[in-house]
Symmetry: C2
Subunit: 342 residues, 2 copies
DNA sequence: TTGTACGCGTTATCAT
DNA sequence: ATGATAACGCGTACAA
């Protein structure tokens, strides 16, 4: 019952008395086969349970349908949402996606890119615009279609779609200034680990500085940038700081909610005793008793746009090298009302 | 400056006046090359920037280092945590992982498995034990190492590591009975979509039935099984139900927190007016003002164990076909204290 | 220890 | 519209 012999193009051809080339053409749906022959071939292929050998195909053609996607992490919904946005486009265009998580290590990303190239990848998606030193030049030399997503730059490796994180930080900072805050703190991860977070902090810094606030107290914490870390780091901020901050900004909304919980737990009233702000407007924000003041990033749209552009790029179309998705401040209930509209 | 010519085994051999085979052997680190030759070859390979062609390698050897991992979704931390648990083992063993998300579609999973086989995958990881009808027999015929993870069964396709979701539901149900609850509700997704959730509900049902409670009111909701859906569905449960439940169990802790928020918002006191329970003990539970009563699943351990076993299986070792990771009830503050220890 | 011949399954090229 | 031939880059099997 079990058919041990692998059925390939050769076997199908033999069955019908046709050459391998006709079979290959029919199977790939390219020109050069009569309608009858094609139909016959497809029938036999289905009946015999033919499956293409992708390795052979890729070796012979020097092409593949593989798109490699490098992400720092899958926690905290941001990257899964970007992925979800990309999926339909890649599926429709017939590409297979290979996801890797780098855990924010540029070295790991660079290694992984090489392995994807070893597989003859058709294109790459990298997170952010900060990579291992040689990677940029290498990908340019190879001329492999590469999408940098999530962050922005004027001069991407190839093409990019993302948000301006400095601007996002600046927007939030300006709003908080307008709310009357002037003793800001920031809770995040070690510097250099998440470059986007670093940029948001820079934007915040500029806004607060020009607004006449005191220097931002920065609290950094290892581990997953989520609820628990947000809570723990908040303890650090409130205890260790020389002056108690009047508002704490967090790397993202999950950390912010952790901080909000902590404040509530120790009896601090939010927003009266202290303000809380996050980034990204994550799903959880829709159901919190106190909605968090945050900056909206359109992650699904970003993924969809990025995938569409990368596919076009692979197909040789000329497209915008840089697409910037706008961010928007979203006032919540964890900060005081702004004195006047910013 | 740019070296257009792809450097392969042939080029390295030519450079040193050696045959391709010696180069191949040295590069793969197998026996049969003198130390000097090997060293020379490795040096030249590095200098010339040699990169192995994975497709050619896989085609010639009929092997690959690819492990395909099929997951229903990347949202809600469960599967990212399982992935994180598998990572170190697969990395060390030199395997590349290809992740696909099926969005709970068995058909999509089956299609994707075929594509992985087209790439000559060394092994597969599938989520759960419920798959498309023919998939099971197909993988057995092919004898491809396959790990089923997250759920349990006595007769896996090949090997399995997971938790007993029926038992998890039963544990929770028994505890809630001991707390005095007898008008239970369950909030989840449409039946058949998440088979593990279905099993947890079955376990709950058995426990409540034997405990003399009324039938479980079931509320199902489309979309991402997370905060927002949990909140929305709770509204449905409380309005539409003929009798108001005294405890609501949710598919997972994220939905449970959504429900908790909703109850608080409409002025219901938890746990005095109504009890709330979840599943999985997700990270968020560590920082909630009211910790959720839940059932602990050890997802990192599960991933690590599964990966270890799959690698052993690929290497031909004989291992346990079924590994069951125990679950444990974790009493929180969203339910009444149990009358006596269960 | 090293080398030779051949095949993996498919596609490109150039014929007919 | 169809076919013959030669790659693609590497590994297996066997020989020297």
């Amino acid at each position: 019952m079990s058919r041990k012999a692998p059925v390939g193009i050769k076997e199908i051809g033999a069955e019908l008395g046709l050459s391998m080339m006709s079979v290959s053409r029919a199977l790939r749906g390219v020109e050069g086969v009569s309608v009858d022959t094609r139909e016959a071939i497809l029938n036999v292929a289905k009946r015999m349970g033919y499956r293409p050998n992708r390795n052979a195909r890729s070796l012979a053609s020097a092409h593949s349908t593989l798109i490699g996607i490098s992400l720092p992490t899958l926690f905290s919904d941001v990257f899964p949402e970007i992925l979800a946005g990309m999926r339909a486009t890649f599926d429709h265009a017939g590409f297979d996606t290979v996801i890797d998580t780098t855990d924010y290590s540029p070295a790991r990303e660079a290694d992984w890119v090489e392995r994807m190239l070893d597989w003859n990848a058709a294109g790459l998606v990298l997170s952010g615009v900060d990579h291992a030193p040689e990677l940029r030049q290498r990908l340019r030399d190879l001329q492999i279609p590469t999408l940098e997503i999530w962050d922005t730059t004027d001069d991407p490796i190839d093409i990019s779609v993302g948000v301006d994180h400095y601007e996002a930080g600046f927007q939030l900072g300006q709003h908080l200034i307008a709310c009357g805050y002037n003793r800001p703190a920031f809770v995040g991860v070690p510097e250099g680990r998440d470059r986007r977070a670093d940029k948001r902090l820079e934007g915040l810094g500029t806004a607060f500085r020009t607004g006449g606030a005191s220097n931002i107290i920065v609290q950094r914490i290892e581990g997953r940038a989520a609820f628990e870390a947000g809570s723990a780091a908040t303890g650090g901020v409130l205890c260790a700081a020389p002056v108690r901050p009047d508002v704490i900004c967090y790397l993202n909304d999950h950390m912010a909610f952790g901080g909000l919980s902590y404040c509530t737990k120790i009896g601090l009233a939010v927003p009266d005793d202290i303000g809380i702000a996050g980034f990204n407007d994550l799903e959880i924000n829709k159901i919190l008793p106190l909605s968090i003041t945050t900056v909206v990033t359109q992650r699904h749209l970003m993924g969809a746009t990025g995938a569409k552009n990368l596919v076009a790029r692979i197909n040789g179309a000329v497209i915008d090298r840089c697409v910037r998705i706008p961010t928007r401040l979203k006032e919540g209930q964890t900060t005081l009302r702004a004195a006047r509209k910013t």
